[in-house]
Amino acid sequence: MTAAVAIDSLAKVFGGLRAVDRVSLEVALGERRALIGPNGAGKTTLFHCITGRMQPSSGSVKLFGDDITYLPEHQRTKLGMGRTFQITNVFTDLSLAENLALAIVGTDRRKWVWNRPLSAFPAVREQALAGLEAVGLKDRADDPVKLLSYGERRQLELALALNTHPKVLFLDEPCAGLSPSERQRIFKMIRALPREITLVMIEHDMDVALGLADRVTVMNRGRVMAEGTPDEVQSNPEVRDVYFGHV
């Protein structure tokens, strides 16, 4: 069986700095993988290279066996890749429903329709409301995003990614900057996702990461330093030294 995501000795160099240093990684179909490591370990850069935001300096990325290393980002999305951003990246000038509508039509040809108003697509509206309901924001569908709290925006961030119907979902610190109770909320939403969706998630919060993930990859200084089940990783002395030593 082919892996959902397969990365082969991927590297990204900025000037003289190797932000990502020959990382190889395989995530199986349906797997939930957490990516942890101290600040500056190269996790987000690795994410950007996988999702197409950045071009890797060398190495390759495969999605369901197809080489997508040089594919533009929007085409990756069509192949079933979804992502969230570490720094909330939603459309603040639009309403929540419009945010979701953009995600819903983004992967099909309706995004090019110019001669009919959006309101002529009741299915999109319905889907948007359903999508908002899934993250508990349905009653705010017509509010502008401006009025949302930070925590609610994080929920919308997740809803946007989910509504491109991803088969593989990359979550970049979904709980970044949230209060413990808000974390729990997001955590629950992620946990409730259907198992068919392969998850790759950067997470600082060890409890969240370990409680959610099937397997954990630990990065440090651009390299993978350990990989295994949460238990294995937790008991790895090297990891404890580098990572838990700080906590």
Partner: protein
């Protein structure tokens, strides 16, 4: 649906006023209002990019001028009828937009600068290629538009013609910006990176918007040449591009009426102030400074602010 009915009522009042204008206004005001419609349309073309897609194009005068020149040259020099000359103008301006559209590969300041450069190329061409464009003197005596023996010769008739075209354009524009495509432009303005990750090839969307904007500018150009019966290189100048974008901002960027209100304020002010105050350019400059600093959403934005209780989505039943 209080808001919608309010908007509809306002639109109807505006249209009724526009229809009645020739009955009360003297010929000078009629020409001025016609001019406002045409420049408003050009400002609207700027605002499709500026207010929706977040791109600031400073070469809109190029499409305007190329369309106007094409129509004028075909009519005056080669004697083609309006039915050929006007569509040819539209096509020529739009083709230029298809060509210049490659500018959407850049963003931000670079986009602004490249469009300035592209604008200067057209200006230089119409200015220097005197044997074809009439150079500085331009092309005069463009006949009134006439189709199948029916000529729109009187000022009032042309006024109504322009009004009809502008209203149709405004409706079309309204559908466009409310369509999924229109929404995608606002999405790109909000966050291009997010749009890409949602599956949009953003450059293509911007390119399409650029071409549509060029088409609207070309339409304004064709309307202009039949209005003024005269065209010269000033129409292609950087100054015009700047002025129409200022109209869009002053009126209210991202709205449909805004650019027209802006055109009215700009042209009205210029004609009014210049009749008694020497430093009228300074007055104009001061208006822009004030708009940018204190009323970035323009006159429409100010009106919205002073209209409590209406226009806020929360108040919907």
């Amino acid at each position: 649906m209080k808001v919608r009915s309010y908007g509809v009522v306002m639109a109807l009042i505006a249209i009724a006023a526009a229809l009645a204008a020739p009955l009360v206004a003297d010929p000078f005001w009629m020409t001025l209002i016609t001019q406002i419609y045409i420049y408003g349309l050009l400002a609207l073309s700027v605002d499709l990019l500026l207010g929706h897609a977040g791109l600031y194009s400073l070469c809109q005068a190029s499409f305007f001028a190329v369309a106007a020149y094409t129509t004028a040259i075909l009519q005056v020099r080669y004697g083609y009828p309006t039915i050929v000359a006007a569509p040819a103008g539209l096509i020529a301006g739009t083709l230029l937009a298809v060509l210049y559209g490659s500018a959407v590969r850049t963003r931000g300041v670079y986009f602004i600068l490249i469009t300035i450069a592209l604008g200067y190329i057209i200006w230089g061409a119409v200015y220097r290629w005197a044997s074809f464009t009439g150079g500085d003197n331009g092309i005069t005596n463009v006949p009134p538009p006439s189709v199948a023996g029916f000529s729109i010769a009187s000022q009032t008739a042309y006024y109504y013609f322009v009004l009809t075209v502008v209203i149709l354009c405004a409706f079309g524009y309204r559908i466009l910006i409310r369509s999924p495509f229109g929404l995608s432009l606002r999405g790109i303005k909000g966050s291009e990176s997010r749009m890409q990750s949602l599956g949009y090839r953003t450059t293509m969307h911007l390119y399409a918007a650029f071409v549509i904007s060029g088409l609207i500018a070309s339409l304004a150009g064709v309307l202009y040449v039949y209005y003024n019966r005269f065209i010269n290189p000033v129409a292609a100048s950087f100054q015009i591009s700047v002025e129409v974008s200022l109209m869009a901002i002053v009126g209210g960027s991202g709205t449909i009426v805004g650019p027209f209100i802006g055109a009215g304020v700009f042209l009205g002010l210029r004609n009014w102030v210049s009749s008694f105050f020497e430093l009228h350019t300074a007055v104009m400059g001061a208006v822009f400074i004030a708009t940018v600093l204190w009323a970035p959403s323009g006159i429409v934005g100010l009106v919205e602010r002073w209209r409590p209780g209406i226009g806020k989505p929360k108040d919907q039943p």
